[in-house]
């Protein structure tokens, strides 16, 4: 009896194996390893998995293997380690838009251009992206290497109820910004919080340097303008925000600036009349504020109202495909990149996270379309893109950014007095130039 049922079981097992085998063979799947970091709150891994499932339904022969790799830095370091060990697992990844120059020069990524050129509607595909975001996707010759995915830009948040009660207008340039901030500043409430105390003052600093007339970087990634007059003016401005008026400052916030992560919380709890922060915080701020939140362009650097001197950097991450990947997997990875950059996904991703949807078409369809009708604040960031600059990215970008952040931090925090600001910028510029000499 027992023997019979055992034999039966074996037979069943063999039969089921036979039944499965052709199925497995027919699948012959291409597996794409996708690394992504996150820098915003929310169920990001769940959302990405949803996208992967949807994509796999459209392309049954491709399997997406999404790997959450922590922060941007951790993602880049993981990939660098794989590259160094010559054991590359990653096929496609979200990395900082500013990682581009390093990876192009190391020849570890393949240009998106080669896939775009083969598309039927390649030109339309490129034209659909906002130009400001593409600035960090191209090399000097104009070849596109990466595709925008989760992009952002800083904006001015203000307490609209407070503005109405005090009868002040939204500032359009830096002079008005100081005027309004000083009027609304009390011992309990900062007039303006500028989050430059944390690890990357360079991001917001860039908007002032560009606004005052000289962007930190232009088309040439081997040339950095850190000790220009505009740069010095920008550093002085940022430092004075926290200096008491008795010492010649504006006295509208804490000395050294505020900390990045604390700033939205301080704003929503009424401890600041205005803050500079990323669009990525918009969803969170709208959810937590008990007052009407106003959103505006970063005030212009030059005291005029014609839109001149408006300047904001962009930020966030792009999609990169790696050179070590086999050609057929690269093809599959490109389909995945195309899918993530589609209007449908961008619209959904933007509405869920607060990132600025990178394609024009994404704003014409739901869910973003309805969201914008309900909360017009989301539209401000998109409109500001017309005045947005390329985010800082040079050769030896990581080191150059560390040099700049360090110099900025030492002046803004008061470690070095303003009288020595120029000398500090000069010393930093000399270090940058020595690093970049071999690239000129």
């Amino acid at each position: 009896m027992l023997q019979r049922s055992l034999r039966m079981l074996c037979l069943l097992l063999v039969a089921s194996l036979l039944a499965v085998t052709p199925f497995v063979q027919a699948q012959a799947q291409v597996v794409v390893d996708f690394y992504y970091p996150t820098a915003v709150d929310g169920p990001i891994t769940q959302t990405i998995q949803e996208y992967a499932t949807k994509f796999e339904a459209m392309h049954p022969n491709i399997k997406i293997n999404p790997v959450y790799t922590g922060s941007y830095t951790q993602t880049r370091d993981t990939i660098r380690t794989e590259l160094a060990a010559q054991d590359v697992i990653v096929d496609v990844a979200v990395m900082l838009a500013t990682d581009l120059t390093s990876f192009v020069e190391e020849e570890t990524i393949v240009p998106a251009q080669q896939f775009i050129d083969r598309m039927e509607n390649g030109e339309a595909f490129v034209a659909n992206f906002f130009e400001a975001f593409l600035a960090n996707c191209r090399d000097e010759e104009g070849t596109i290497w990466s595709v925008p995915f989760q992009r952002s830009t800083p904006i001015l948040y203000y307490n609209a109820d407070l503005f109405r009660a005090e009868g002040v207008e939204v500032p359009r340039n830096v002079n008005e910004l100081i005027e309004v901030a000083q009027k609304l500043h009390t011992p309990e409430r900062a007039g303006l919080l500028m989050p430059v105390a944390g690890g990357f003052p360079i991001w917001l600093y860039q908007s002032f340097a560009a606004g005052f007339g000289q962007p930190l970087i232009e088309a040439d990634p081997a040339k950095v303008y850190f000790n220009s007059d505009a740069s010095l003016a920008a550093v002085e401005f940022l430092t004075k925000l926290g200096m008491p008026t008795s010492e010649g400052g504006f006295g509208v916030g804490p000395m050294g600036g505020s900390v990045w992560g604390d700033t939205p919380t301080a704003f929503t709890s009424g401890q600041a009349a205005m803050i500079y922060h990323t669009t990525g915080s918009l969803t969170n701020i709208l959810r937590n504020a008990t007052f009407e939140v106003g959103v505006a362009f970063l005030p212009s650097g030059l005291p005029n109202e014609n839109g001149e001197g408006y300047a904001a950097p962009t930020g966030g991450g792009n999609l990169y495909i790696f050179a070590a990947t086999e050609p057929e997997v690269q093809e599959a990875a490109w389909l995945w990149v195309e899918f993530l950059a589609s209007d449908e996904v961008q619209s959904d991703w933007g509405a869920r996270t607060g990132y600025v949807a990178a394609t024009r078409g994404a704003w014409e369809i739901d869910p973003l379309k309805t969201l914008v009708e309900e909360k017009p604040q989301y539209l401000v960031a998109r409109n500001q893109l017309a005045h947005a600059y390329k985010e800082f990215d040079s050769y030896r970008s990581i080191d150059v950014q560390l040099i700049i952040n360090n110099a900025l931090s030492s002046i803004i925090s008061g470690n070095v007095p303003l009288s020595q600001a120029k000398a500090t910028l000069d010393a930093a510029q000399a270090q940058i130039d020595s690093l970049l000499a071999e690239y000129r």
Partner: protein
Amino acid sequence: MPKTAFQRVFPYLLVLPTFVFVALFTLYPVTRTVTDSLYKPARRAADPSVFVFLENYADLFDSTHYLGARFVQILGNTFAFTLATVVFSVPLAFLFALLLNRQLRGTGFLRFAIFYPALLPLIGAASIWAFFYSDTIGLFNTILRGFGLTGVNWLGDPNVVLYAIVLLNIWKQSSYCMIFYLAGLQNIPRDIYEAAQLDGAGWFYQLRYMTVPLLRRTTLFVVLITVTYSFQTVEQLQVLNQGNPADRGNLLLYFIFQSIGERRNWGYVNAMTVVLVLLLLAFTLTNFLLFERRDDDKA
């Protein structure tokens, strides 16, 4: 009786598994670190690195070099940080242990309260302290402002930041070291104190001439781990200030971690690691020679 071949080989066979792991995960990486510290990576990732001998080390101590300009300051911070941690947390740990060693009402609760910081994962503890230190919404500044004082920019003021980080480390480390002192105290036989009391030795006399000398080995151990841990501080910096502002709150291992991101810094990263290891090795050896030797002499 002469040993058979197997008997001679057998001990080595027993050691082999451990040796393989040590070789793979300790000896090999150490050797690689030392050799890699003598090379500069080439501009293209695929090209071979260039042998530069000790140039990476020389650059680290060159104040016009982009890393050297920061390295010496950060090395100084690390020494100050370690010294302050040892000077405060070791005596504190000893005092806590003395306090908890007495059979008093509520000792259990007190023990838990004092040991609590050591139980918390450092990242979690640092997150709590990040809230204490926050400039606008932080606990410390809210209290200060409640008394009508101006708040302190704990993590933003270049003259304050290192103290703020040391304070957290003392809080954490004194709690951890207390456990070793407590264990040490409970291992000292009661009867020698009774004998001392019969001889008329007072409390302070017992502490100074009996407890402290008897715990000398514990103190040595505690100082050793505190120095080693402090030299390798990374976690709280990641949470609190990322080494800012202007490197006044930066420490060596965190700086190494910060520099890893750029492939072409890997020569420097290895050189800095070698410096770190050499410093720790020098400290450990000095300690060993000074203290262990003396014990042997006595014995």
